[in-house]
Symmetry: C3
Subunit: 347 residues, 3 copies
Amino acid sequence: VSTSYRLDDLARRVGGEVRGDASLQVQGLATLEQAGKGDLSFLTHRGYRRQAETTQAGAVLVGPDVELPGRDLLVCAEPYAALARLLELFHPPEKPAPGVSPDARVAADVKLGRDVHVGPFAVVEEGSELGDRAVVGAACVVGSGCRVGEASELRPHGVLYPGTRIGARCLIHAGVVLGGDGFGFATSAGSHLKVLQVGRVVIEDDVEVGANSAVDRAMLGETRIGQGSKIDDLVMIAHGVQLGAGALLAAQSGVAGSSRLGAGVRLAGQAGVAGHLRVADHVTVAAKSAVFGDVDDPGFVAGVPAVDHRQWKRSQASLKRLPELLREVRQLRQRVADLERRLEREG
Amino acid sequence: VSTSYRLDDLARRVGGEVRGDASLQVQGLATLEQAGKGDLSFLTHRGYRRQAETTQAGAVLVGPDVELPGRDLLVCAEPYAALARLLELFHPPEKPAPGVSPDARVAADVKLGRDVHVGPFAVVEEGSELGDRAVVGAACVVGSGCRVGEASELRPHGVLYPGTRIGARCLIHAGVVLGGDGFGFATSAGSHLKVLQVGRVVIEDDVEVGANSAVDRAMLGETRIGQGSKIDDLVMIAHGVQLGAGALLAAQSGVAGSSRLGAGVRLAGQAGVAGHLRVADHVTVAAKSAVFGDVDDPGFVAGVPAVDHRQWKRSQASLKRLPELLREVRQLRQRVADLERRLEREG
Amino acid sequence: VSTSYRLDDLARRVGGEVRGDASLQVQGLATLEQAGKGDLSFLTHRGYRRQAETTQAGAVLVGPDVELPGRDLLVCAEPYAALARLLELFHPPEKPAPGVSPDARVAADVKLGRDVHVGPFAVVEEGSELGDRAVVGAACVVGSGCRVGEASELRPHGVLYPGTRIGARCLIHAGVVLGGDGFGFATSAGSHLKVLQVGRVVIEDDVEVGANSAVDRAMLGETRIGQGSKIDDLVMIAHGVQLGAGALLAAQSGVAGSSRLGAGVRLAGQAGVAGHLRVADHVTVAAKSAVFGDVDDPGFVAGVPAVDHRQWKRSQASLKRLPELLREVRQLRQRVADLERRLEREG
């Protein structure tokens, strides 16, 4: 049965208002390009303005300052957040049914909460705890002494090294490795002596970690991912890192050992932070940039090494003019030499 | 039984010609360094010219414009393509034997084509389809409603999230995750609300994806990898990306959300493309470079942000001369001040 | 039972000396921040000097040139190496018990050494060999014809493609893929013909490979990781690479095809080396840098492309002054024009 909603009903649910036909029936959500008459689409990124003008969508979800003449609009103060709520309405997420697969191997002493799901070929080792409604996907390996909090989900192929702790409502995607050894070696006479990594990884509540990312255990103590942080695919968090609450780490970014990133820090794609640094709350690091020193104040940094974004932009702009500058200086040198010769002659 | 071929027989098979002893018996293929008398080696990269002069190989496969006096040569217009064919001749690939392992868990309603192989501890969930001669390696997890096309192979430990579609003759290497959630969060009052990702991943025919790479599902609609594209290891393709046919993405490169890359686009190692961009057909992005804006024309771009490769080279060359330029300008300033003082005195 | 040691006993075990109370009882090791009275902490990175002054630790392990007035010190010539030994003393590593899980699938002809451990849902294919005390973790897949040397450990979810060879005492972390296909395609008339990769991966003794890293097999011959090399998480080593002994590759670094890196080479985080290059022994590549040409001498290189580190620093410093330089040259041009006009008038 496909459900449909009146546009003003949707507006009410997301705290928005209709500009246009309030009685319009919405059958689904779709991108501007793919939407048909029965769909509500959305303009949450200004780059798609032109598509919004030509979309076949029945209605468009927009922010308060957007005009789209002739279109039925659902206007919200925060259209992207509204879209998030509408997605949940039209696509209510399904959780795997509770139960431990007969093909899973769960140690006898594991504490299982209510309505836990453990998939086929999953392994949960001794001394671990799975909270109520926790999900351990197919072929996951949960080492000894781990804790997975209430309603947290491990998608297939997650690996938790022994002692890893995951809070409530986390989502750990396929192939993620939590608690692998930090990269610690004491080089003595040219050979690298392994420094045992006996700390752990702690993932606080409401964290998401993307596919194939890795968070290493601390040498001693903890590597800690703060509450509500979101980590994309193929991200690497080294041993002893402390990530504040609400951090956002985009794909292929990385943080080296023992660095401390404040609350709300954002690393764009392929950005990096070197080791043993402190990065203040609400610092954003541009894509492909690398932080090589402490960042003391909130702001936007870019470059390698990362500097204030405006300074980086100025440097980049100047860099473009550099070949021209070289020519100019060569000419100036010539002109000055001419002047000097002339004065010499005249003197 | 080791097979051997006459050099002229090999030439005939790859559409080349022999320069030298046509009757030479070739027992195998080997690198210039490791080849012995019975081996055919190859010079497909000019960096190895010196090795080609000193190799012990019985014969060398070369392009049309290469001279190697005193050596028996197999000359081909496209020597690397010829090498590809010879490798298949000397090392015919073996496919795993058809059959579903008794240790696999395949849902009752899964449609299995002819001669399908499903390895031990693999999971194939309800509603999925595996085409004729498809291979699902050990410990793979194929979620519900997936399609794996004819003769496509998933190497061990692949994970397909529900709804993923893979065309024919694809090769998906170990540890690849297809269809994980895109990185979408609506930040409202400092906390990050998950934006459900209800689209899918579509991999067209003849695509290869390297070890531990990740392709995320679209929020709505599709993330699509074009026919014949080849993706290396540890590459990240974000939600909603559209990759044209015949793209080549080298290791550790990444493409951010919703970007559209044309046919034949090449990203060299560790390159990146930011989100919501359009990159024209046949654009090549240099290693370690990052595309931060639309690229409208075919060509070779480099740098962060990426610009035309020649411009990048000029900037880099100028950059080297910058310390010297600073000195020079300091001297000019001095000389101009001297001139001014002198004229002042004289005036 | 928690063990405790006298400080002078610990000093004797690591070849150090006590400065302060030799009879102090040490119950454990802890970071400066978390240590209590019964703990020995350590100052192995000068960035933590202030923490060392205020730590609650009972004693601090330091290098020979460190003064911490009023504190009991354990002084060692190589404090980090001493810490490595103390970690083994306080946290003796546990190996999984010998035995093959009834849930593993080990081919009949696999040669098993003494005291081998094979975990649940692991697969070991025909013709492979596992040396004495080798460990194959849960859900690992060891392809046909592989060798895993004495006392080497594969953590859960490792994948060894057929023919991979691992020496003795190696540690391969979760999610690592060894021996996947190199990225080789011969492009002919716009389509990419697969070049079969029929070589292998050889990992010499005492190598560690971090979570989710990938080492590709050679097209022909070997990809080889030298003895005692240590590779961090999410690192990519392409086909045909030769890595010397004792290399250190930090997280998210990568080496492109056929490059040869000497002994003791270090790549910092997110660094890269392009293909077909030679990098001399004991070269260190700075974080986020990329080597695009041969490096003939030991040293420290940085930048994209990487140059000598001092040159890179000078360029970076100059770059910062570039906007100011542009202004200065504009002024100089004006002053020179003024001088020229003046002389013109006066001439």
